[in-house]
């Protein structure tokens, strides 16, 4: 299994209120092809900053990012990105939102529409192609956003707390969709969450981040059979271990 993404020695700070805020102290991790890797950390620990750097939105102060063994530089349009906000364009129908990435890449319209229709069907959105986002529920909107992300034809998906705003049941369903998609399309996933259970249910490996400024505190491999349920003994055990690792950091001065 080759390395799809390698992040080494990432450091980033921001000017803040006249002072300086160190967000990332030293973050290094890697993701193999078709691997599902989660960055788990407390809120505000800089997870989103890692995403923005990997996506090429902001440059790091120090450190390197290598995609498929090549230095990524500041180029954009190299990963598929999805966040908590669905960011659907309200003036576009579900279908036109889904194929936004293809349109920006200049893909021919006919095949792009066919591809988007097919993908929407798989995500239970058949019949809603011509609906506007305003009439959809939160879960449906997030599914459209997921379809848009998948259709950007990037092998690396960066998912920044994508289900954070959803209710528990919808969230569970979305996690199922995501697993299926990842297994089926052979995508590599960098997943961000602060939900321990979500991390255990979905991931192959988990990196635990310290509170700001972020470092990698621990790396946990989740060698559990799939599908996983939150009540499986292995899952419960991993949850307890991860919670311990997170709390250890919170109580220390």
């Amino acid at each position: 299994m080759g390395v799809a993404l390698e992040v080494r020695g990432l450091r980033k700070g921001f000017r803040y209120d006249g002072g300086w805020l160190d967000v990332l102290a030293d973050v290094s991790f890697h993701i193999g092809h078709n691997e599902f890797v989660t960055l788990l950390g407390p809120s505000g620990c800089g997870k989103t900053t890692v995403c923005n750097i990997v996506a090429g939105l902001i440059p790091p102060d120090a450190g390197a990012i290598r995609l498929d063994g090549e230095d990524a530089g500041p180029r954009r349009g190299r990963v598929a990105y999805m966040q908590q906000k669905d960011l659907l364009l309200p003036w576009r129908t579900v279908l036109d939102n889904a194929l936004l990435a293809l349109e920006i890449q200049g893909a021919p319209r006919g095949p792009a529409r066919r591809e988007a229709r097919e993908m929407l069907r798989r995500f239970g959105l058949e019949g809603f192609e011509r609906a506007y986002p305003a009439v959809l529920s939160g879960g449906m909107r997030q599914r459209v956003a997921l379809v848009r992300t998948l259709l950007s034809r990037r092998d690396l998906l960066v998912l920044d707390e994508p289900f954070g705003a959803l209710d528990a049941m919808t969230r569970r369903a979305m996690q199922g969709y995501l697993r299926t998609v990842q297994a089926e399309f052979g995508k590599t996933v960098l997943f961000i969450t602060h939900d321990v259970e979500e991390a255990v249910l979905l991931s192959d490996r988990i990196y635990i981040l310290t509170p700001r400024p972020a470092r990698i505190r621990a790396e946990v491999r989740v060698d559990l059979p799939r599908p996983r349920r939150s009540t499986d003994p292995g899952v419960v055990e991993h949850k307890a271990r991860l919670l311990g690792l997170l709390e250890l950091e919170e109580v220390s001065p």
């Binding site: 996506a55 990105y81 960011l87 576009r92 305003a134 950007s152």
Partner: protein
């Protein structure tokens, strides 16, 4: 919130209905909106009818001469019998308004794009644009006559000047209102600046532009009429000045009726264009 359909109920229901059954397209045709509007139109219409009746009664009771205050019935009669004259003058005024408005719209949107895309232009031009609003445009109407003559041009300029500001300001506001997270999404997808402008910023600004245009289009009628008062050879304003001088106050009122109808018509036309151009807005307003 004029539509009875509760917004929150739609997604919940949509989730349960099998996809094939649900018609995803917006359901209410614009005639439906009109029908729904009847309930809102009725009370002011009744009030207006009451005022007109009172007016009619007062004119008859006190035997007011028509050159002081004509009765509504007399005005209504003129509106019909003098329609040839009035329509001809209205057409002249309408032409001034439409041409002036079109010039201001194109120029205003272009300037807004410049202001938005260049810090230098913004710093130099935007404060002046806002400061220029302290100059009453009506005060320079006589100058416009001197510069552009008694013909159509001076009135076109007048109408354009009046609507230029709301169009520029609303368009700039609209361009700035784009969600920065959406801009980031486009950047991550590898979009070019032109793609971000045409596929994100301009569509996002359209509702703002339309609200500016709706305000502007009614005031542009005022601009044209003031221009005609100051000096003109045709138009409803020109007709009013002459009728007034000859104590044809009834004809002045008839001209006002035509002007009002014109302004309302323009407002409705803009609303209809907005309705057709922004189908997604029908769901949220």
């Amino acid at each position: 919130m004029t539509v009875a359909r509760p917004r929150e109920a739609v997604p919940a229901a949509a989730e349960r209905v099998p996809a094939a059954v649900l018609p995803p397209r917006p359901r209410t045709p614009w005639t439906g909106h009109l029908l729904a509007g009847v309930g809102h139109v009725l009370p002011p219409a009744a009030l207006l009818a009451g005022v007109l009746l009172l007016w009619e009664g007062a004119v008859r009771a006190f035997r007011l001469p028509f050159y002081i205050l004509p009765a509504p019935s007399r005005i209504a009669e003129l509106v019909v019998t003098e329609r040839g004259l009035l329509l001809g003058q209205a057409a002249a005024t309408l032409a001034e308004v439409v041409v002036g408005f079109a010039i201001a719209f194109v120029g205003g949107v272009l300037l807004a794009l410049l202001i938005f895309s260049s810090r230098t232009v913004e710093r130099a031009v935007y404060p002046l644009i806002i400061a220029s609003q302290t100059i009453p445009v009506f005060a320079i109407a006589p100058l416009l006559i001197v510069w552009f003559g008694y013909g159509m041009a001076s009135k076109v300029v007048m109408a354009a000047l009046i609507v230029f500001f709301p169009i520029v300001v609303n368009t700039v506001d609209g361009l700035r209102a784009t969600d920065p997270d959406m801009v980031n999404l486009f950047l991550i997808l590898g979009a070019t600046p032109a793609q971000i402008l045409w596929r994100l910023r301009i569509p996002a600004a359209l509702p703002f532009i339309f609200s500016g245009v709706r305000i502007a289009v009614a005031t542009s009628v005022i601009g044209a009429v003031i221009g005609e008062w100051v000096g003109a050879t045709q138009g409803l304003g020109f007709l009013m000045i002459h009728a007034n001088a000859q104590l044809h106050v009834d004809l002045v009122f008839a001209a006002i009726v035509y002007l009002s109808v014109m302004a309302v018509g323009l407002f409705l036309a803009v609303s209809a264009i907005e309705w057709a151009a922004l189908p997604w807005r029908r769901l949220t307003t």
